[in-house]
């Protein structure tokens, strides 16, 4: 079983490396997320079928194994993809390296300007995800956004107790 899922994930990765990474659709956040999400759903469904057909040899443990392995692979892949796409710290290192090579000062103002331009994109992305809505220039949480914000706030209070009363 472990071998079957390892072969499946290797094939999924190989398809991306040798064929799909050159396609424009998989260079967008939505495209690459869908590529992994669809595969996880497929693997999950296959796992459920096997768990039902082979409850003793495969069962719940087999399903957990399939989903965990796919989860580790997809989460690691998407984190790297996202970091490589737009890590702010990496842009700063690149800016310092560039300035060093040309004997000039790093242009941090240009980096700040890029960040400023991203601000509108962030609000638009939150609207698109249905987490906030805008009306008459005012932004508010939707019901779904409220639930997510509650969880985020609880987690922040847990890992950053000094900031517990903010937000």
């Amino acid at each position: 079983m472990l071998l079957a899922i390892a072969v499946y994930l290797t094939a999924h990765f190989a398809a991306y490396v040798f064929v799909l990474r050159h396609r424009a659709e998989l260079r967008s956040e939505n495209g690459i997320s869908m590529y992994h999400f669809a595969s996880a759903v497929f693997a999950g469904l296959a796992g459920v079928v096997f768990a039902v057909l082979e409850p003793n040899r495969f069962g719940l443990s087999g399903l957990v194994l399939v989903l965990s392995l796919h989860g580790i692979y997809s989460l690691s892949f998407l984190e790297l993809w996202s970091l490589a796409q737009g890590g702010y710290s990496l842009s700063i290192i690149a800016s310092v390296a560039q300035a060093e090579a040309s004997g000039t000062e790093p242009d941090f103002l240009a980096l700040a300007a890029i960040g400023e331009a991203k601000q509108d994109d962030r609000v638009a992305a939150l609207v698109r995800l249905g987490l906030v809505s805008g009306k008459d220039g005012r932004i508010a949480l939707t019901a779904r956004g409220g639930r997510i914000a509650f969880l985020l706030h609880a987690l922040r209070r847990w890992v950053q107790p000094g900031e517990a009363r903010k937000g």
Binding site: S61, L75, L131, F150, L152
Partner: protein, 156 residues
């Protein structure tokens, strides 16, 4: 049984991480979690292998623990550093003007914050007022330049 053990180990790791975040340690949040998560993971592997051996349930439990830890690290680093997450938390107080929301994010402050972190962690150095990339920073830069090329981010 092994899966329940993995879930219990993960819950314990999260609880201990919460305590570690309240302790006066000179470590960042990820290292504090590793300090707890790794030994607990080793203990889980030992117990799982001793009880059920390298069987499907044993391997599934170990992988489940690894996935949950990775997901937890991803989520708490997101909550601590994401501007969008900060915006959502801020909006819990009630609706705000779009301009007020923009104040959550001061681009120059954000650059300064990241730069300070890079200096502190030895990726960038500063001598006589001039910045330079350290060997560690160069290595990271090389790796991510390769990754950008690999993922096709550069040609967009």
């Amino acid at each position: 049984m092994a899966i329940v053990l993995a879930l219990a180990a993960f819950v314990l790791a999260v609880l201990l991480h919460g305590l570690a975040m309240r302790a006066p340690l000179q470590l960042d949040s990820v290292r504090r979690f590793m300090l707890i998560g790794v030994p607990l993971g080793v203990a889980l592997v030992t117990v799982a292998l001793a009880r059920v051996g390298p069987t499907l349930p044993g391997i599934a439990a170990i992988l489940l623990y690894a996935l949950l830890c990775e997901l937890y690290i991803f989520l708490f680093t997101l909550v601590l550093s994401s501007v969008s997450a900060t915006m959502l938390i801020m909006l819990r107080r009630g609706p705000v003007q779009a301009s007020a929301l923009a104040s959550v994010y001061d681009p120059q402050e954000m650059v300064q914050l990241r730069l300070d972190r890079l200096l502190r962690n030895g990726f960038v150095a500063r001598a006589s007022g001039r910045f330079s990339v350290t060997e560690k920073g160069e290595r990271l830069h090389r790796i991510f330049t390769g990754l950008r090329r690999f993922f096709g981010h550069e040609s967009r």
